[in-house]
Assembly symmetry: C2
């Protein structure tokens, strides 16, 4: 069994697993820049993961999460072929990103997660949602990505939390479920009310009328409701698999469950590792893997 | 004629005018914090303006732009009575803010601007829009503020320009009118597409498909279109007076003119000074002014 390193790069976090075939020997993680990870920006992260994981310094790396070699959808994530990266690190292979022309879309890390999800849930039928700073709703059919729609709601939430007019109100760490639900219903039925709902939140704060725990929940509800209104064809009458970090996934799960939509939550790191492992196995079987 | 100082405080900028009755003797301006200006935060700005404007160090100040003593609408800006501020600066009087219960709203600096606008445009009939980090659409009737609706679109634009996923695309300083118009039409007809339109902008950037000058114009068009969709009852079939700084006003003017709405642009500092001067004159006539 060849030793290799599985790498999941995403804005903010780089995860590495030291592998022997399908088995995890060791794991490591590093903080990464919040910007999208380019091949050049990946180099120090890859060196850092190599250093953090004991073993042969020259073993190959298989990476997901880079915006490289975009393959247009429809595409079957399990069929994607890893490509060598133009880096000094000669052993670095990357899974291609998925792209779409209309509407314009790019998913650097989704292919491995979706391939891993299907490896662990064969023949699952429904819609896959990958929540994050950039959330992707993915229509799949027979384990193929047919089309997707991305939303920047998570980035909006983070950006607003530091905006001068709102950051004081949003420093509150509480979470009032009722405030979330009311805000969600507002923009789910009238998504054009988003910017007005945010202004009302600011006014309530300035007038001293905000109850504890309501501001972050209201912000999240307003953003999630507007997104769900626009993504309705993706979830209405469907079951949804949510592949995201818990903090990113929570508002989607709460909102979808309120609409009676059955949700399955899957750990995105585990899905990425399963997808990378399956790609590594295919690569080795085809005799394409270095080493 | 008594000497006094007119002060216009807004997030980011404090303006002062040294006055003799209705006449401007001198002017000064200071950078201010971007957060809403509270009475306590105002103290150093007021001291700074006093120091920058030559004249009697004890002359009274009349201030607009503070979130103090909110008066619920409907209210006639020209009837508002300046109130003493709880500050060590004994000569400081402030015009009350305007507030609304439903939807929640607070306009710290609008009353003076609107009073000044009517002082200079008596019996003008239409809707007043005050663009800024927080934009207010104000329904007026017989020079009275009947109701208003606020939007946080300007704050969203600023926050997104520094968001990790978008700041590189938005560092572009160009302005492509066609890109603005297309983005405007997208969200004006389907405001729920805002977060998806932002994600498409991010994807076009990541895929290297953005033409120069299009990113900032697209962002502005998406945000302005969504706001105009929600504010439609305020501008449809109306004439609109835009009282804002040129950079804040430009997208509103371009968007409204594309919809065939006649727009009047008025300098917000000049309106504030006119409103403060009228209030000072009433105050003096009533024998309420200090000095």
């Amino acid at each position: 069994m060849t030793d290799w390193i599985a790498v999941d790069l995403q804005p903010g976090l780089a995860r590495g697993w030291s592998m022997r075939g399908d088995s995890v020997l060791d794991r490591a993680q590093l903080a990464a820049p919040l910007t999208p990870v380019t091949a050049a920006a990946a180099a120090p992260l890859l060196a850092g993961l190599r250093a953090a994981l004991p073993g042969d310094a020259a073993r190959p790396l298989l990476i997901c999460g880079l915006a490289v070699a975009p393959q247009a959808v429809p595409a079957k994530p399990a069929d994607l072929v890893p490509l060598p990266l133009p880096l000094p690190d000669a052993g670095a292979l990357a899974l291609p990103a998925l792209s779409q022309t209309s509407p314009p879309g790019l998913m650097p890390g989704a292919a491995a997660r979706i391939a891993g999800f299907f490896a662990l849930n064969p023949r699952w039928d429904g819609v896959i949602c990958l929540p994050g700073p950039l959330t992707h709703w993915v229509q799949v059919s027979a384990e193929e990505v047919v089309s997707f729609q991305s939303f920047l709601s998570g980035t909006l939430a983070t950006a607003l939390a530091t905006a001068p007019l709102l950051h004081e109100a949003l420093a509150d760490q509480g979470w009032a479920e009722q405030a979330f639900a009311e805000a969600l219903d507002t923009t789910l039925s009238r998504p054009e009310r988003l910017a007005a709902g945010l202004a009302a939140l600011q006014a309530d704060h300035a007038l001293g009328r905000l109850a504890a725990g309501t501001a972050p929940a209201r912000l999240s509800g307003l953003l999630t409701g507007a997104e769900l209104a626009a993504a309705r064809p993706y979830w209405l009458g469907q079951q949804v698999a949510l592949l995201g970090e818990p903090a990113d996934t929570r508002p989607y799960a709460a909102a979808l469950e309120r609409q009676g939509v059955p949700c399955l939550r899957a750990d995105p790191a585990r899905m990425a590792l399963a997808g990378l492992t399956a790609a590594w196995r295919r690569q080795s079987a085809a005799g394409r893997a270095p080493g």
